[in-house]
Symmetry: C2
Subunit: 297 residues, 2 copies
């Protein structure tokens, strides 16, 4: 089968590499070409536009940073809708607003192509290992048709029904739950630290007992050590997601006090220019507000 | 060895039963005697006061509901300090303030007996199975001496050092992290529900992937189903813990915005007279504020 892939950030590159398995052919496009070089060396071909990446593809993946970028690569002059065959499927993996997903699904319907919302969970190293968790929603047969491709990038696929916006509500909710775990651990570890209990001992206890899960283990270690490298996603990127979540909460009339706090912490982090750290670094706001001073490394 | 046990609530009864193993002899005391009957049938003897329960014991356990009750059973006229031999150890499992733990440790020191802070994590059924997580702090040799007994009630023992208050800081932090997980899931599930995504499908996804841990699995199910039975601990009991946590945060100068929110949710739950539900039922505040109306069952 022939696959198009648009958007070669850390996540996109890793996912595209896994799609090259099983003898699929792959055409890749990115705003800047240099990111594509490793994929081209591995057998992919370069497409000079989203439309070209979509040309004659059975499936075209998109993994871009926000709603505006996705609208552009989909509906722009050289967007994928101008290259995609009828019946082909657009697998949309970006974290975007549910309404944008619904609109794009309609655009596809008008042109007899298909749209599957497929946001994913996992850091870049998880993407490299082909172990993402994939949430899908949209039209049933389209979801079935792309399942073999999703199996190449993920370890599990969860179906949230027909509404193309649903999987994005789930993705935003997941980033929200992550943010809550980060804030909660930051508060608990800082209280411990000020009571002469090491952050590490709290981390080790909770992440191996009550909260023995990937999130508490991985993010908990960053928060215990207060080392927010490598950068999985930046504070600015996830702040965008929290804003989208709060938009949904506003529309649906759901008071979400925890979401407000996580958003404010991310806002302060971005405002202070802390842009080159993992987004879990907003935990630093908690220790900073508690007057904890770290030696400069 | 001879063991005393004071405080036979749901947790205490289960723990005391496990201490009867290994041919230890056990003297039990509770404010009301009827709770002790199953233990007496299993071989324990009745003690008519905390002092009597402590008499000639190598180790005396306490598991009572709050600081006042623990002060009373320890330092009251018929308190355990008036029965305990020199060198014997008081294993204090209640969730209390770190300062009370420190004061009681000093009282023991004055009388040449010893105090080990040993708060535990786990619901009553976990206590029955002898699978609690036990946090200890206090004097080193005392901790070593009681380890064989703690192994009968727990699946793991975590040592937080010499400060008798430290293990209680950890316990309060753990209940705080639990409360945060409950609030976060309640907000996420309610947002999902209002977007026509079932609470159960969100629960199943998150509790088997990113958040695959005992807390998200067990509490998440209660929140997804909105059935807050059986009662592990009541909202009023855990509200007391959150108040103790906020006291510590105040003293240590740690802003804890998540703790404020969890405390307010528990306060509303108690104020509305919802006293006969598990404390995770404060999640109902989230759906109620979002205007979700449930059919009366």
């Amino acid at each position: 089968m022939h696959i198009g892939f648009i958007g070669l950030g850390q996540m996109g590159i890793a996912m595209a590499h896994n799609l090259l398995k099983n003898d699929h052919s792959l055409a890749v496009h990115n705003r800047t070409r240099d990111k594509a070089e490793p994929l081209i060396r591995a057998g992919a071909t370069w497409a000079s536009s989203p439309a070209e990446a979509a040309y004659e593809a059975d499936v075209v993946f998109t993994m871009v940073s926000d709603d505006a970028a996705l609208r552009d690569v989909t509906m722009g002059e050289l967007g994928l809708l101008n290259g995609l065959s009828e019946e082909a499927v657009h697998v949309s993996c970006s974290t975007i607003s549910p309404d944008t997903a619904r609109q794009l699904a309609q655009e596809h319907q008008h042109r007899n192509s298909r749209y599957v919302a497929s946001p994913v969970f996992g850091k870049p190293e998880v993407a490299q290992a082909g172990k993402l968790w994939v949430c899908v929603s949209g039209e049933t047969t389209a979801k079935e048709d792309v399942r073999p491709f999703l199996n190449l990038i993920g370890q599990g696929i969860f179906d949230f029904g027909d509404d193309p916006g649903a999987a994005n509500v789930v993705k935003l909710s997941g980033n929200f739950l992550l943010g809550c775990a980060i804030e909660a651990m930051a508060e608990a570890f800082t209280l411990g630290e000020k009571n002469n209990i090491s952050r590490t001992s709290l981390y080790e206890f909770f992440s191996t007992t009550l909260f023995a899960s990937p999130v508490y283990k991985n993010y908990g270690k960053l928060i215990a050590d207060e080392v927010y490298q490598p950068v999985g996603a930046t504070p600015a990127l996830i702040r965008k997601d929290m804003r989208l979540l709060l938009d949904e909460a506003q529309k649906a009339l759901v008071p979400m006090p925890f979401a407000d706090i996580v958003f404010q912490q991310l806002t302060a982090t971005v405002a202070k220019g802390k842009t080159d750290i993992d987004w879990a670094g907003f935990a630093g706001e908690v220790s900073e507000k508690a007057g904890v001073v770290r030696p400069k490394s």
